[in-house]
Symmetry: C2
Subunit: 355 residues, 2 copies
DNA sequence: CTGTTAGCGCATTCAC
DNA sequence: GTGAATGCGCTAACAG
């Protein structure tokens, strides 16, 4: 005997059950009511005996849909991505999809390759946490192409569903917290942001929040009545030399603030930036750095608690879940205009802003 | 015009190029030398014009292989998994496979479901970082079933290729470091380890390392001539109550060691345990906890540097890469006996063992 | 060099 | 209730 050399097919099952393929197919598709109890149990037995598993590829080929969703992630090393992924998975299970997870690993041409590959596997839709400019790579979907929903960031010329953080509100929350804690020299640190909408939005929101607060304090003579300074620094994490240079400038800024007697706080636009800054501050001020410099960040990685960093936590699971829901509606044929879901962030206060 | 409502098929291209499907197929499969320059350029043009992409599902159905590999991960929240994943991806690209990433999220029946699903999609092989007991779920492959290679841990009754850390050597390295630093009360902390081979091996290696060291010091009268104590504590991270209880016992142990004047060091079996311990130590001793208690861990997550924890780093990328290589050989038909690749760990000394 | 033919495993008319 | 026939998109013999 031994194990069968080849996996059983529907024909094998039909033969084993002494019937035609049609009945097997009906059984598989839950049209149980149309089968005589006898046939039905014979089929069950045959399937069991042959350890039969319907071939999804063949099914997909026939019916034209394979229940595959593409999930294209810019960087799985970023905990944010992993959490979004979990939300996506949960929704996929609930809706009967199988997520095809693709990891661009910060390589822009990996992203392009994967997008093509997904197309090739005829996924029914894609969820994209874009890295660079899939420009027209995604275009076709708006115009009858494959449905897509964007996560965290928009893609330039593309009019698609979008789900992510309410950046304006999140940044406002953070700035407000810093001002309340008496910081009056705020430094926003962000990766190169021209091409990433979420970074752009956060930076813009940062500027606006400061202006707003300054205006308010001017008329109301708030406790922090003195001027609040604000600056933006760019940290290109993929370029060591550039990072060193930027950190040197930052150091100068911090020193200057100390000289002026100002209270300086660093605002990291996301977790990777926060980690880099924390490492730098630790190297500079030692293990007790939280007492010398303030740091707040968007994103709440697992080590934030250990490092004692105040953060704005994103509802990452929900973001992933909603993305799939949006996509599913699109796949089911909804022809609405592009929607956007912006979830609120949550302030988690820790030692780094209690100096 | 507008975008074509349906993706172009090989027949469309053939018609557009004024030829038969065979030639198109030949073109797609790189049999270019067999095509007249004229036909060839007509085909190229047609493909371009129709934005044609061959349907992988159909190809797979026909040739019987779809170049899909299953990657079943127990827990993507564990940085170890993400790094292995990156190695797997790299190898897949090099060898022309597409990894189907499945995340069991610590749910044992998710694992089972995914294994079935992978079977259903006719993946050519699977790489499994097992969670529970896929028992016979994987059995079939040894006996003509789908090829599999195990990562980090074995599966009980299963005789398959295996790749992971050289646990014995890694643990020895860590223990040796601790002894050299003068610690004489070593506490190994690990998640429930009966069913996870790597944890079992590490725990066993811990006991053996201590015994070996004790023996050596006995005959050679090493500097640490006094007895070295060793104990194992279990931390079930998925059960809060149990964790609290275990930590209380640990605290007692530490207090007792202090009373005796012994130098106590904690040895975390992996990153999740290390994080939990670090959080506890921080809560107990404050931000400077590294000076009150020693901690070493297997795994080297990105936050280890920030937290200043000494670790044994695994060559995770290589592990993932090798897993795919093993699998590929199997898929190509190699019928060798089960192999095992055990990679060495690397000691990264940081503040937590320099007390 | 090129086209015709016959399936891969399955779902779906359409008859019986 | 049930089964035979047709074709999804593609590749692999076979002829020419």
């Amino acid at each position: 005997m031994g194990a069968p050399p080849r996996r059983a097919t529907i024909s094998d099952v039909a033969r084993e059950a002494g019937t035609g393929k049609t009945s097997i197919s009906r059984y598989l598709n839950g049209e149980l009511s149309v089968l005589s109890p006898d046939l039905r149990s014979r089929i069950e037995a045959a399937i069991e005996r042959l350890d039969y598993r319907p071939n999804q590829m063949a099914r997909g080929l026939k019916r034209g849909r394979n229940r595959l969703l593409g999930l294209l992630l810019a960087d799985l090393a970023n905990p944010y991505s992993v959490e979004v992924l979990q939300g996506v998975e949960a929704a996929c299970h609930a809706l009967g999809y199988m997520p095809l997870i693709c990891h661009a690993a910060n390589e822009i041409d990996m992203e392009r390759r994967y997008l093509q590959l997904l197309t090739t596997y005829r996924v029914e839709g894609v969820i994209v946490n874009a890295l660079g400019v899939p420009e027209s790579m995604l275009k076709p979907m708006g115009s009858g192409g494959i449905p897509a929903v964007l996560v965290d960031r928009t893609v330039d010329g593309l009019d698609a569903d979008m789900v992510g953080l309410d950046n304006a509100a999140a940044v406002r929350l953070a700035v407000q917290h810093l001002l309340e804690r008496g910081y009056d020299d705020l430094v926003f640190v962000v990766q190169p942001f021209e091409h990433v909408s979420s970074r752009r939005e956060r930076e813009a929101a940062f500027r606006r929040s400061i202006d707003g607060a300054a205006g308010a304090s001017a008329q109301q003579a708030t406790k922090g009545a003195q001027e609040v300074r604000a600056a933006t620094h760019v940290l290109d994490l993929h370029d060591d030399a550039s990072v060193d240079a930027a950190l040197a400038v930052l150091d100068a800024h911090i020193a200057d603030a100390a000289r002026r007697g100002a209270r300086c706080a660093l605002f990291a636009a996301n977790a990777p930036v926060a980690l880099r800054l924390a490492l730098h501050l630790k190297a500079k001020f030692g293990a007790q750095w939280q007492q010398q410099a303030a740091l707040i960040a968007i994103d709440d990685p697992e080590w934030a608690e250990l490092a004692g960093i105040t953060t704005i936590r994103q509802p990452t699971r929900e973001i992933g879940y909603r993305a799939v829901e949006f996509l599913n509606e699109r796949i089911e044929g909804a022809a609405l205009a592009a929607r956007a879901a912006a979830f609120p962030g949550e302030l988690v206060v820790r030692a780094s802003t209690l100096g």
